[in-house]
Symmetry: D2
């Protein structure tokens, strides 16, 4: 029975991912590879997935910080604030995007809602057309609440890591060497 | 091209998940549902996935805390320390499992390595036979480093949430009501 | 020489603390003791101090959560959002205070700036008239940037813990028993 | 009455700080300034204070990471692991110090217990002879549990920042410019 559920969950992720625009993924990767500095932010379980991506950006040797960490740098011109907001209306995301915009920083948004407030503040929007917390009506799907969006984030970020590995020329060996031994 | 990579990534997750023992998943869910208190811990990107599961346990109304958070309670008899360590040798995981054991707490371990030091300290082991950071030789797979293990954790936890929803009788509405509006 | 600097640092903290209104401290403690739930939030090094206070509230047995943690509950009527913003204009603090206000939650603010945007959104303001990051002109003081405000927060919170111990009747023994052994 | 408590709290901090060896503070600062990389770690409320110090090291332009953050680098020869453990026996601190030692990293320890297990693993020990969580007998002092040690950490770190500002030549302006605007 777990097997059936796992298969259904993977299918739901696959269905959401199939609708993401391939050219936009490539463009987002180039923005990240070219940024002077990258800051990442998200709320709830989206925060966890974008932090996982940030760890891989760090492994790739890219200059990334996590909003809220004590080593997060200031962002300005030439920098990218990479945020995720499935519903596109989380208040702290909107606040940080406004601050970034005022500082001349590029807002790169991942969202399920291309008409949302966050999308209005973004310089570049990568849409994952998946159910989020806000859209959950409690029926039909195996994955509850925002889990389709969050799981799709995980897989999308993995694919972006592969593309960024090519863009940056980072070797697998170099990536593993950057992983912390303090754990 | 992204589409091919995503499909390959999902297939790698599916292959790892297909080898997880269904009865052990059910048993782990019962241990979590019956615990007086649950604490969770993991390192690196595994920490992020287990925190995501902890948020869903919180949504389910279960008494869960995250090791390192300021509201993490003391654990003792009747409690479960749920840890993930893909390679099974991360030093802080071993340290906490020893402390938990001394306090009479049940150690529930997720790992890729059933012969590891962590497995020796566990009361119950749920094996996900997937490549981890430690096992990455840089070849063959689409998902690098520990990503297969971490992505499999995500999907496995989702399936466990579904089973725990049945075990606890939590409604989708109740789960959504517990989600924070402070974000 | 360290001794002279330490003495000067403690004197700067003492000078800031001497200007905090005693009756307002008592009133803030009563609000916290009477809250159905308490959420805490702050930015940068202020976040660290308010999390330290949250751990003591947890030790006291009070129902506290930290914004951003996976176990942070939803806030509504009867709840208190306790925030610190020295300069009173940090954008995520303002965003969360607006969300809290819309949810009927009481905003309890610690700040150095009683005329700030945060103060306008607060139901109750406790002013610590100390230099913050925003006010640092680089002269005169031993403690740089926002350190006077942050150190004053530490001491003020300690005094509030003592008052809350009386208000809640928590014993030292009970507080120590609630401290986690998972560390 | 708050005034009397605050005064007493500051006096308790001052008494603990007066017993810290001035020459050892200077030596610790030189180790930090000369490190190739610095990692910081602590448990509970000590973690919060050492993270506050890490933010100031970041402001100073020093290469610092926080154990547990996704951007924490690997440590090896020439690096310093700066840890605090008031009681000197917290299990994850001991685990990380052993890992650091095996990697050729210098263990710099802050503790109240010079005869503790952590002290045995340290290359350099800076003793703050203050009551910790473990030593709290519930009597006599105004500051409960480990608060004297934790508050003394705050002030000691501030003094170390002043000394490191001289050692590194960082200006106040440069420090403020490094502070994040994403908050």
């Amino acid at each position: 029975m777990s097997d059936t559920l796992m298969r259904a969950a993977l299918d739901e992720l696959g269905a959401a991912l199939a609708k993401v625009d391939d050219r936009l993924i490539d463009a987002a990767c180039r923005m990240i590879a070219d940024a002077r500095r990258i800051g990442v932010y998200g709320c709830g379980r989206e925060a966890l997935q974008i932090k996982g991506f940030a760890m891989r950006l760090f492994h790739l040797g890219l200059p990334v910080g996590v909003v809220g960490d004590v080593t997060m740098p200031a962002l300005g011109h030439g920098d990218v604030l990479l945020v995720t907001s499935g519903p596109g209306e989380t208040s702290t995301v909107l606040a940080l995007m406004r601050t970034a915009r005022a500082a001349g920083t590029t807002n790169l948004l991942l969202t399920a809602e291309p008409e949302s407030g966050a999308a209005m503040l973004a310089d570049f929007v990568l849409v994952i057309p998946a159910q989020t917390m806000a859209g959950d009506q409690g029926e039909g799907q195996v994955l509850p609440m925002g889990s389709v969006y969050e799981g799709a984030l995980f897989v999308l970020f993995e694919v972006m890591v592969l593309k960024l590995r090519t863009l940056t020329g980072a070797t697998g060996e170099a990536m593993r060497a950057r992983h912390t031994n303090m754990e």
